[in-house]
Symmetry: C2
Subunit: 527 residues, 2 copies
């Protein structure tokens, strides 16, 4: 199938662009943040009727079992990957235009998106992720006969995905949430991000084409344009719709918690998996400063400013211990951070938010080197542990290329990090493994983070089975989950247990002959 | 150690009964529901200071790593099991007196409680439940080197457990929640149920003794008496305490949701795992009625009235299809249910609630055979599918020995169960496996239940790895979890991921040499 290379400006429902919008539609434009110019296409915001229709189509597709077979899901994901690659330069160019992110970064993100789709295709095909667990009957057991009981993970139903502004491909229309939900067997409805409607729609068309090519009911995927005065309403209508059974969200704390609250207030509450960013504290002992200070400053400066600091895992707080050369180290960190090429920010809202957060942080900090007040360039601020503890505005994320260096008197003071800051996606420790304090610091950092990095940087999230991209509140509202890696699939499922069910009525994964050859635990033994 | 065989009437904090209560303490008594008589001991309700002290002790114990070693946790659980058995007849007698449940039922529940403790001891010792997953480094990978990433489940911290009135042993002080939380490495604070304070305290003393015998910091377990005017306040103070990291609850929808709400409103929200009971629908096709109606009626009558209908899994709704002999079948079901020995209910509140719910159900139902209005004996009510759909009061649990038989015109009408009733712990189907409708009915029932039972009864929850005792809202507020079986342990954990961490700083389960010999997934392969 020839890939569509132009956006129509319409939501994709029922496998095709919606062409019969309500007479008074809300329109919005695709703006290039680099120069504020609008692309030619006008985008039509999804109406309430569009949202309903997408939800009903998804529920019908789910009930009719179109995603029931693992092979079907795997084929769909693989085809989406191929179709994304087929979009070639068009997709990369549009994503660059709409986000101002550099070409190599977007090309890399496209490759990661394709790799994620293939990873989840392989996971779906293997089937072993369902945690099939079988306890066979023993009718002779006393005092009560033992029944035959079997359990596996089963998909929840239609999932709503809210794409991220900062990952227009890897955490957007066909990103990790969509790939993992489809792999689990859940139809997906994506609320497109208003910052990159062209990119979103091109990917959505590629997904819809993939479903068509695989002969899968087009209810399994829909894409809703949202922008202008309806940007928030589309999301609310989607999460409130009783057909939707779970929500994936990547974005701000405020946005994530609003959806979480809304989902709790439904007749039947549903889980919202909100990845809401974090401060990603880094902790450096005096001996690490002494032995590898220069290396640390260089790596940290690059990590703080990566993609203009617009990554969930950019380090925003750096706890250091007073030691010989600390002042020079901080100067060097600031000099290297501010020397990074200036990155145009994702959209005017992100830029305004960044500038405001930096200004909020000024009363309790001093700027080291750095950029002129009021601009969106890198900032390195400096404060003391006491001042940091006092001023809670410093405990919240600054989304952008800024970091606050928090100076502690003693290495032991670093232990207080576990008390004074909130949950984070990551926590990083630079220390000598042999230092007596290192183990205690690791234990503290583990309490506040989903991922603990030792002598490295938190940016660059490896997509693999062991990854945890999550963490204690407020990094996420669901600390037991991960938004990245194969663990992400279980978010869209719940365990179901079958007691005394005849073989022919069981899901394939639980049948006696294990026709799909999935890994199972049978009477306590992994087979 | 000599087991304590008498309750002191005091909460157990710091390993011993609290003897320095506030001058004006709230007192309450242990009432035998059979005759309303009070035992001699007066019970002192935990004060706000007691709650704080218990929470601080638990947090200290957790931080100091007293439950860090799997062997320690296993030994503690095994010792608790032994100590419970050592209580012998005393424990069974007190539990019978305080709940009015029959001796054999309580003795069986004691054995189940002991078996659960030993199951979780074995699970802790095996270590394989931590889902250890390792992806090793590849420094030569391009364009980015691959880091070493390792993940496992880690305990959340102190857990508050709210015991159930209907399982004074298996879901109370040393029941499934406590056993699974301790196995995970979480200290436990139990809020005792006011209906059985003697039983609760005897078990609490056995747990405290076990900790002492194992040389474990007594902060790892506390027991709070709660009754009278402070019964609710103790629970609120416990869940609001920032030291508490998760909550286990078994009880009413109202109680569970109140705790859930409270936990969401904290500075740092925490998960409440509330198992809130359900209607446990049973569904019988016309052919099942024809081929094995008599057997079904007998089994159902026993299941409806088991333990006076005071089990989370007692069937409360029976959907049947009009067929030859249906009227006689319903009469037979009612006759057998009402012929069961009358069970004194757990406490006056449960009895009053039961009587009120039966009365609320009368306008849309007719009574079949049955007990006099206003008494707490078994009731079988009958209605039509149309009347059932109309009257939402019928969709809620009646906690007690009552069932509503809902008559459908056609077998196809049974498919509507998936739409018209809410989430349930279980759903049961009596049908011929060969009937064309059976597969579709199974698919519908699966959507509303945590466990689907085929041609059996839902009561009698097998404690095994494949069990799911949970289900869609409102059966629980956490449909991805199970309160029974080994799956229960993961409720008290979250995954933590370690990147580039030197071997000596990793938890044992993730170290290169796998010193504990746990099952691990290494680079995608299970070892």
């Amino acid at each position: 199938m020839q890939a569509a290379t132009q956006a129509t400006g319409r939501s994709i429902i029922g496998g095709a662009p919606v062409c019969d919008g309500e007479p008074i539609a809300v329109m919005f434009a695709s703006i290039a943040p680099a120069d504020g110019s609008a692309a030619g296409t006008q985008f039509v915001c999804a109406t309430a009727a569009d949202v309903r229709r997408a939800c009903e189509g998804a529920a019908r597709a789910f009930e009719s079992g179109v995603l029931a077979e693992a092979g079907t899901r795997a084929a769909l994901l693989e085809r989406i990957a191929t179709n994304l690659l087929d979009l070639g330069d068009t997709l990369v160019r549009e994503a660059c235009r709409e986000t101002a992110l550099p070409g190599p970064r977007i090309a890399g993100e496209r490759d990661r998106t394709v790799a994620q789709l293939r990873l989840f295709a392989a996971l779906a095909r293997s089937g072993s992720w369902v945690e099939a667990t079988i306890d066979t009957a023993d009718p002779t057991r006393t005092p009560m006969p033992k029944p035959d009981v079997r359990r596996m993970l089963r998909p929840l139903g239609p999932v709503a995905v809210f794409g991220a502004s900062n990952f227009p491909l890897a955490y957007s229309v066909a990103g990790g949430d969509t790939a993992s939900a489809l792999a689990a067997g859940c139809p997906v409805i994506v609320k497109g991000h208003p910052s990159h409607p062209t990119t979103g729609e091109l990917v959505a068309l590629a997904v819809a084409d993939a479903a068509k090519e695989c002969g899968i009911d087009h209810g399994c995927f829909a894409f809703l344009h949202s922008g202008g005065e309806r940007a928030v309403a589309v999301g609310r209508e989607l999460v409130s719709n009783e057909r939707i059974k779970a929500v994936g969200f990547t974005g701000s704390f405020k946005g994530g918690m609003a959806l979480h609250q809304l989902a709790q207030e439904r007749g039947t509450p549903i889980p919202v998996f909100a990845e809401m960013g974090s401060t990603n504290p880094v902790c450096m002992t005096a001996s690490a400063l002494a032995s590898r200070g220069a290396e640390i400053a260089t790596k940290l400066a690059a990590s703080i400013t990566a993609s203009g600091g617009q990554m969930c895992t950019c380090p925003g707080l750096v706890f250091v211990t007073r030691g010989a050369g600390l002042d020079a180290w901080i100067e060097s960190l600031a000099a290297q951070a501010t020397a990074q090429p200036r990155q145009v920010m994702l959209n005017p809202g992100v830029k305004a938010g960044y500038v405001a957060r930096v200004e909020q942080s000024r009363p309790s900090t001093t700027e080291v080197g750095g950029t002129t007040t009021g601009t969106a360039g890198p900032h390195v601020l400096r404060t003391t542990l006491a001042a940091f503890i006092e001023d809670e505005t410093l405990h919240e994320e600054i989304f952008g290329p800024a970091a606050i260096v928090v100076e502690c008197e003693l290495d032991e003071d670093l232990l207080r990090i576990g008390e004074v800051i909130r949950g984070s996606l990551t926590a990083t420790l630079w220390a000598d493994p042999g230092e007596p304090l290192t183990g205690r610091l690791m234990a503290r950092l583990e309490r506040i983070a989903g991922r603990v990095v030792f002598c490295g940087v938190p940016t660059g999230v490896e997509v693999c089975p062991s990854m945890v991209h999550g963490g204690p509140f407020p990094a996420t509202n669901q600390p037991h989950s991960s938004a990245v890696g194969t663990l992400a699939i279980v978010r869209w499922c719940r365990p179901v247990c079958y007691q005394g069910v005849p073989d022919a009525l069981l899901p394939s994964e639980l049948r006696a002959k294990n026709p799909l050859g999935v890994r199972r635990t049978v009477n306590g033994v992994v087979e």
